[in-house]
Every structure is written in C-alpha cells, then in structure tokens.
C-alpha cells in the first residue's frame, strides 16, 4: 500500500504549485473514468469531460512552465509504493524544465485533438469510447513525462502502447485497420522487450536498490556504474526508443498506423507517443553519455538511416497521411540522430521535438480536415482545394513551410539548431541532414501542390470543416509561427535556459549554416514547384526515379521481408504444430502411436528436405517440430488446461513437501 509518508526533495526554489504537478496527469484519468461510466448519458456523449480536464491540465502546465520561465529549479517528490528486499519502489514526480515543456506540448496538442475530434468523429458509433481512450492515452503520456523512476515510466509507456492499439484499430470492422493495429502493437512490443531488460540492467547495476532516474544518473556520474554496463543498459533502452519512435528497423508500424482516425494520427503518431521514445533517450541521457562511445554512434547511425530512408519513401506516396507519416519518421530520426552528437544535440533535439509537435499536429489535423471534406486519403483525388477550404489551406501551408524549414517559422529555428549541433558533432551526419532537408522541402511542396493547387479531381463538393475543427488548426498555426522564436538566438533562446543538460549553455548562431538550411529548403520547394506546376497524368517523379520508384513504393521490401522471413514461418509452423497436437493427444493412444510414426516420418522427410533443399527448409521444418511441442499449451479445451493445472499442483506439492 501507499505509505503515508511523503518525501519531498526540493531542489532550488520550488514554488508551491510545483508539488502538485501530478494533478496534471491525474485529471485525464478522472475524465477517462467519467467518460467511461457516464459518457453515454451525458449530453454530447461525454466529450465534455475530456475537453474540460485537458483544458485544466493545459492551464496548469502553463503555470508549471512559468515557474521555469522565472528561473525556478527542479522539483522531486514521491511516496513509497512498495519494497521488495532492498528495492524501494516509489510513485511520484520529477519536474524540471524539460518536463514542463513536454507537459505543455502534450496538453496543448491533446487539447486541440480533443476539440478537433468533436467535429471529425461526429456521429461515430464508438464516439464515447474514442474519447475514453484518448483521455487515457494522454494520461499515460503525462505519466511518462513526470515519472521519477523507470517503473512508473514503464507503466505509462505500456498504457500508451495499448491505447495506441485501441485507437489505430478504432474502426476494426475493416480487416486492414485491425491488422494495422496488431502490427503496431507487436512491433512496438518487440522494442519494449529490450527496453524492459534495459530497466532491469540499470536496477541490477544499482545493486537492486532503486529505479529512480536521478539516483541512477548520480551513480553513473560518480562512476559507480561502469561504462560497459551503462553501454549495455543504454543500448537496451534504445531498443524501446526504436520501437516507440519507429526508427529503423522497427519503423514499419508507423505508416500502417495511419489506418486510425486522423486525430489519433495527430496525437499519437506525430506529437506525443512517438516523441516518448526521443524523450526517453533525453531523460536517460546520463546513461548514454556515461556509456562507451559506440552507443551514441549507434544512435546517430540508426537515426541517419531512418532519416534518409523515410524521406525518400515520402517522395512517392499518394496517400496524404502516409506522406506525413514518413515525414514524421524522418523528423524523429533527426532528433534521434542528433541526440547521438552530444549534449548540445540533446537540447537541440528537444527543441525540434517541441516545435515539431506543433507543426506536425497542425499538418495532421489539416490533412484530416481535407480528408473529411473529400472522403479520400489519396492526393490524386484532391487538388485545387484552396478555393474551398481557405482556413485549412492557410494553416496547412504554414505547417508545411515550418516542416520544410523556412524562415521565420518554427521548423527553421529548430532545424538550424540541429544542424549546428550535428556540425559540431559528426560531420557526416551534417551532410545527410542537409540532403534530407532538401528532400523534406521537396515532398512537402509536392504534397501541398497536389492537395491545394491545380484543379479539383475528386467527386462531390468539398467544403470547409466545422468550427470545432478549424479552431484547433488556427491555434496550432499561431503556435507554429510563435514557438520557434523561443529557441531563436535573436532573443537569446529562452528555451535553452529551461531545457539543458548539466549547465545551461549559450546558443551560438552560425550564419552560413542558417543560410545553407534556407537554401536547402527553398531549393527543395523550387524543384518541386517546377516539377509539379503543370498537371500531369503520371507523377513526374516516376519517370525520373526509374526502377527506384518501384523500390520506394514497396518500402524497400522491408515489410514483405518481415512477413515472409519471420511472420509466415512462425504462424504456419505454429498452426501446423497445434493441429499435430490435437490429432495426437486428444484422439488417444492409438492415434498417439500413429502420430509418433508420423513424427518419425516427418523427421525422415525433414532429413530428406534438408539434404536436398538445404538450410532454408531445415530452418522451417525445425520450427515446425518445436511448434508441435508448443501445441501442448493451446488446445482451446478448458478441461485440458485444468488437467495441466492439477498435475502441476501435484508436482509442486511433492516438490515442496520433499524440500
């Protein structure tokens, strides 16, 4: 049970409010419960709870940030949860400038999405449920942000995973959507396994005493944990980031996750959940810095591969949400890659995370507005929409220019910081980032042009979206224009006085890098304009890319490779094994003998195939045999489970009484 004693460690001048930051995370939980239990009976089907709670959380977040704007210090407080031997687990909060910024980002975007969904999800048959999961998801993300220890972080992390699954598969009646949700869940799970082991490794490294992040950081800085151990832990933790932030090679789920409703894409797959992976690296940065040097290099390399690969894929997409999905991958990879370039890179990455959340949410919500109007995701069904949807058009263009990195919008300032840090860190990374910046500007322009310019190709009459959808767009558009200046050297970059690693350091402005970034952005836009200004039947890129077009369309065949090399063999052998077990055990002894004979003949067959067809088949058949053993666990017959249960009880009785 929760201990009554509250341990408060105030670092510096913690204002009174700061102690209660956890309320920000609690409010969405309450609203989720209210939505779940009373939502259907409330006028408006329960959306009001989530919106009210998020509005309150947003105001509180601004107040918390204000504390840091005034130069306040970090604050930590926690209560005991339970003790296992020497291990103390606590619940609580750790708030510093970074957390405050993240709280503002998450609550702003979530509030916008809550309001926006009023219009977008209007009339949906699971409207109330949608709002419940949305609130639950926000609460989980806020928990990750304020978590003082790794266990609390893990709880939020996993709740986000399940909420993401529920939201992607919100329209599960279509097989494609439920497949996408399963794919997202399992793929991120694959990253979560190393993540959990990373947590265990760190706890073990502390001598099983604590999972508190501050304590662990302190031990690493005091060299009580060796660089090698920290390296193992860091690379395992980074596995979680690869899964959650969709970095290569686990990036495959994010584009498919676009099957979910568009507000979900804006909230989860642009602004918050995928940001959790980046946030994790930044939060555990001491571990990464304290680890051997190859860890950060790996981080940079993974980021660089994803950055360039995803930007290339975004070039050829026809689905507007997929363009945005790949650009999200690419932008997240920017952050991850620059994280690997040193502490300055970490701060720059967080600045980009901060600005990116606003303009990417804006772009997704804008895309949702367009989709709402034309009832199609395909850009070939759009075109000329600027006349029909002026508000969406203007805000979308602002978001796009920010994404491309055009002065003076948010993306320009953060991208500039990233480039500067990369140049100081790894210069090869700098080159890749500039190339990616050109590509980003190109596909952004292509997307804007195909959607809003030219002539309208679709059916029906597009119309501007309702007020509930356009007002979040305007709010986010204004934020996109404004937030970039927070990190601008022109006004001494207040952002980096809140978010810093170790000590705040001055931001230096490198004119030629800023100029290079602008040239890259304008160059990409210009080339795209020249290529797309005339309307054509075929995408002009298709001819120019030649065979690469096909490779990009098939996403480098990575998804197909995963399906054929991993998923089908496991699935087929398991089902074969299940069937085999059913036939043998349940049909009794006679059939058992037959199955034995069959097993022998299977092995003969296996040998045959092995000799003839070589190692590939050997692997598959070996898996079939082991699948046959696994079948014991899954007959679906409850009584069989009970038999196993009682046999286990007898065995345990004998073991324990003997001992």
């Amino acid at each position: 049970m929760v201990g009554a004693e509250t341990v408060t460690v105030a670092v510096g001048a913690a204002s009174g409010l700061l102690k209660y930051t956890w309320i920000i995370a609690l409010l969405p939980v309450i609203s989720a419960a209210l939505t779940l239990f009373f939502g259907k009976r409330t006028p408006g089907k329960g959306a009001v709870y989530g919106i009210a709670a998020l509005a309150a959380s947003w105001v509180l977040s601004i107040l918390v940030l204000w504390h840091f704007v005034q130069g306040g210090g970090a604050q930590a407080s926690q209560v005991d949860w339970f003790n296992v031997g020497p291990f103390h687990l606590q619940l609580g909060q750790y708030i510093d400038g970074l957390c405050a910024v993240m709280l503002v980002v998450v609550t702003s975007v979530s509030l916008c999405v809550h309001v926006y969904s009023l219009g977008y999800m209007h009339g949906d048959k699971r409207f109330t449920w949608f709002y419940f999961v949305l609130s639950m998801f926000t609460a989980a993300m806020l928990d990750v942000v304020i978590a003082p220890n790794l266990f609390q972080l893990l709880i939020g992390w996993e709740v986000m995973g399940i909420c993401s699954y529920l939201l992607i598969g919100h329209w599960w009646e279509e097989k494609e959507n439920s497949n996408a949700s399963i794919k997202a869940f399992i793929t991120t799970r694959i990253g979560d396994v190393p993540f959990m082991f990373g947590i265990f490794a760190l706890i073990a490294a502390t001598g099983f005493k604590t999972s508190n992040i501050t304590d662990i950081s302190g031990m690493i800085q005091a060299h009580q944990i060796s660089g090698g151990v920290a390296a193992v832990a860091a690379i395992l933790l980074f596995g979680g980031t690869i899964g959650k932030s969709a970095q290569f090679p686990l990036h495959v789920w994010l584009p498919d996750a676009m099957a979910g409703p568009t507000p979900v894409s804006a909230l989860i797959h642009a602004a918050t959940m995928v940001a959790a992976g980046v946030y994790l690296v930044g939060r555990m940065y001491t571990v990464f810095i304290g680890a051997d040097a190859w860890v950060l290099q790996t981080v940079s390399i993974i980021g660089a591969i994803t950055m360039l690969g995803a930007a290339l894929l975004a070039l050829v997409q026809n689905d507007i949400k997929r363009v945005l999905a790949y650009s999200t991958l690419s932008q997240l990879a920017y952050m991850v890659a620059v994280m690997g370039a040193g502490p300055a890179g970490r701060n720059a990455a967080f600045f980009h995370l901060f600005t990116h959340a606003f303009f990417k949410a804006l772009l997704f919500l804008g895309a949702g507005s367009v989709i709402h109007a034309v009832h199609s995701n395909n850009m070939s069904d759009m075109g000329g929409l600027r006349k029909f949807m002026p508000v969406t058009f203007i805000t979308f263009v602002i978001g796009s220019l920010a994404l491309a990195g055009v002065f003076p919008l948010a993306g320009f300032w953060s991208k500039d910081e990233l480039l500067v840090s990369a140049y100081d860190g790894h210069q090869w990374l700098f080159v890749i980032m500039v190339v990616t910046a050109v590509l980003t500007a190109f596909y952004t322009m292509r997307m804007v042009w195909l959607t809003f310019f030219g002539t309208y190709d679709g059916h029906g009459h597009p119309h501007e979206s309702p007020r509930s959808m356009t007002s979040p767009l305007v709010f986010l558009g204004a934020a996109t224009v404004g937030v970039g200046f927070l990190g601008s050297p022109l006004i001494h970059a207040p952002f980096f006085k809140w978010v810093y690693f170790g000590q705040p350091e001055a931001v230096h402005f490198v004119p030629w890098i800023a100029l290079l970034g602008t040239v890259a952005a304008l160059g990409g836009i210009g080339v795209a304009y020249l290529m797309y200004k005339e309307k054509r039947e075929k995408d002009p890129l298709e001819g120019r890319l030649g065979p690469l077009w096909g490779v990009f369309q098939h996403r480098y065949y990575i998804d197909a490779f995963y399906m054929r090399a991993i998923i089908y063999p496991i699935r087929d052998t398991c089902s074969a094994g299940v069937y085999w077990f059913n036939q043998t055990v349940l049909d009794g002894f006679v059939n058992g003998m037959a199955a034995l004979a069959r097993g022998v003949s299977t092995m003969v067959y296996w040998f045959d195939r092995n000799v003839i067809d070589g190692a590939v088949n050997a692997l598959g058949m070996g898996a079939e045999e082991s699948g046959g053993l696994l079948k014991y666990l899954q007959s679906g017959n409850v009584q069989w489970y009970a038999v196993v249960l009682f046999v286990g009880v007898i065995a345990l009785t004998i073991i324990f009484v003997r001992a």
């Binding site: 349940l586 009794g588 009584q639 046999v647 009880v649 009484v657």
Partner: protein, 167 residues
C-alpha cells in the same frame, strides 16, 4: 473408537459414495440428487463436529437453494441424458489426475498428521452464539465484503442471463 467416530465413518462412507455417484451418474437429475445426499451427510458431519450453525446453513443454503438452482439450470439447458454425452472422450485422464490428487493429499495428511499419533480430542461445541460473536466482532469487515459480493453476483447474474431487447 468412540461412538462419534463410528457415526462419522458411516456418514463419511455415505457422503463419499454419493460423491462418486454424483460425478459418474449417467442421468443429470440423479447426479443432482446424489449431490443432495453428499451435501446432507457433510451437514451431518458438521453437527458431529459441534458446528451446529454451519450445519444448518449447509442444509438451508446448499441443499435448499443451490441444488434447486442446479436443477433449474439443468431444466433450462435441456441437458441430455446418457453417459456418452455427459463425459468427455478421455475420462481416464481425469481418473488418473483425480487419483493422483487424492494420493498426494493422503500422503500430505499422513505426513503432517500421522494417524497413529492422533488422539481423539475432547468434545467441542461451537455454539451459534459464539459464531455470531466471532462474525460480528472480529470479522465484520469480511462479512460486509461478502454481502457486497453477493449483491454484485446478483446483479451480474441478472445482467448476464437477461435477454437483450436490442440486437
């Protein structure tokens, strides 16, 4: 051996045999009636052990209410009659495991409370008054929890078994 022990052995034999009959009967209604015999003899064992309140509750609730519920359940689900449809295809597995459980328990009992060492303790009478005092003195909170559980079960059963009007 005291008279009480002889009485116990008779009751235990009746209870055990009808328990076997309950789980092997070919007719579902017969099985329910054998269950009545088992439950009643268990109730009588409670009386022998001096637990009179538990004994009467056993008769009232188990024999009076639960078995009736079972009979209703059998009636509502049109349970078939005949051994083949009552047991599954591998009764020997259940037999082996059931015997294994009994053997394990018997070994455990013999290990912990050797029969040879046991002595017949003097009589003990847990009067209804004592039970009431224990429940409403030491166990008030669990008692309330159980009453809440019963309420929840009542509502749950109604919700589950109710026919939905809308499809």
């Amino acid at each position: 051996m005291t008279g009480q022990e002889y009485a116990f052995i008779v009751l235990a034999a009746v209870g055990s045999l009808s328990a076997i009959a309950t789980v092997t009967a070919r007719n579902v209604v017969h099985a329910a009636l054998y269950l009545v015999v088992t439950l009643s003899s268990v109730g009588a064992v409670y009386l022998l052990l001096g637990a009179e309140f538990v004994a009467w509750v056993q008769i009232l609730i188990y024999v009076g209410a639960i078995v009736i519920l079972f009979l209703f359940g059998l009636m509502l689900t049109k349970a078939p009659i005949g051994r083949d449809s009552l047991d599954n295809q591998h009764p020997w597995v259940g037999g082996v495991v059931g015997f294994g459980v009994f053997a394990g328990l018997a070994w455990l009992i013999q290990d912990a409370f050797p029969f040879a060492d046991s002595v017949a303790s003097p009589g003990f009478r847990g009067s209804t008054q004592a039970v009431g005092q224990a429940i409403f003195h030491s166990y008030v909170l669990p008692f309330e929890a159980v009453s809440f559980l019963l309420l929840a079960a009542l509502i749950g059963a109604v919700v589950l078994a109710r026919k939905d009007d809308e499809p």
